[in-house]
């Protein structure tokens, strides 16, 4: 194929932009760690409870995002759906395992702080994703 022919061929119409998964979840991790560092002078237990709560939200979500965007495009619709289901079941199992491990192994623990951190990171994730979709940046 000559360079001229290459220029004539239009760029792939179905080029699929994937969201910056690493950036999104890296940002969330950084925010959780920053919040916990700020909580250390207040109370150590509160600080690590917040980190654990945040990570219980970030890690399964990152796994899910990784699975969802393994395939893309109409030609791979079946694979997309399959990896979507796999990602969701993996997310569910990971969340259950992480909560179970935390409550079974970590003592002492501030349960209220853990749940609040979990909720905040979950909402943050939804807001970031909605922002990407809403601003016209295809995710």
């Amino acid at each position: 194929m000559t360079a001229e022919n290459e220029r004539r061929i239009p760029r792939a119409v179905h080029k699929v932009p994937t969201p910056p998964i690493l950036k999104i979840y890296g940002f969330q991790c950084a925010l959780v760690l920053l919040a916990s560092v700020m909580l250390i002078p207040l109370d150590k237990v509160t600080a690590y409870s917040a980190v654990i709560g945040g990570m219980i939200s970030v890690v399964p979500n990152a796994y899910f995002a990784r699975q969802v965007f393994r395939y893309a495009g109409a030609a791979f619709a079946r694979e997309v759906t399959r990896s979507f289901y796999r990602g969701e079941s993996g997310k569910f199992v990971t969340t259950v395992a992480m909560f179970a491990a935390t409550f079974a192994l970590v003592q002492p623990l501030q349960v209220f702080v853990l749940f609040i951190a979990y909720l905040i990171v979950m909402l943050l994730n939804a807001v970031i994703l909605a922002r990407y979709a809403g601003l016209g940046k295809k995710i």
């Binding site: 179905h14 699929v16 893309a72 495009g73 109409a74 759906t81 259950v96 179970a100 349960v111 994703l129």
Partner: protein
């Protein structure tokens, strides 16, 4: 203690059931939409990812509370 375990089972079970129904509908609609308009498939995938994040938020909180009941509340209960 028995009632607490039943509560845990219900929380996890119904949480998983709700999520499964939601995801089945979502996945089915994605296949349908991709078959109808293949050029929209990437956009649909992105939107589906967003909705999926919102869909399983509440069941996941339920799972967290269930784990709390199972590992913190139940061991403290008298047998």
């Amino acid at each position: 203690m028995g009632l607490a375990l039943i509560a845990v089972a219900l929380m996890i079970g119904f949480g998983a059931l709700g999520t499964a129904i939601g995801f089945a509908i979502l996945g089915g609609k994605l296949l349908e939409g991709s078959a109808r308009q293949p050029e929209l498939a990437p956009m649909l995938q992105g939107k589906m990812f967003l909705i999926a994040g919102l869909l399983d938020a509440v069941p996941m909180i339920g799972v967290g509370i269930a784990m709390y009941v199972l590992f913190v509340v139940v061991p403290g209960l008298p047998a």
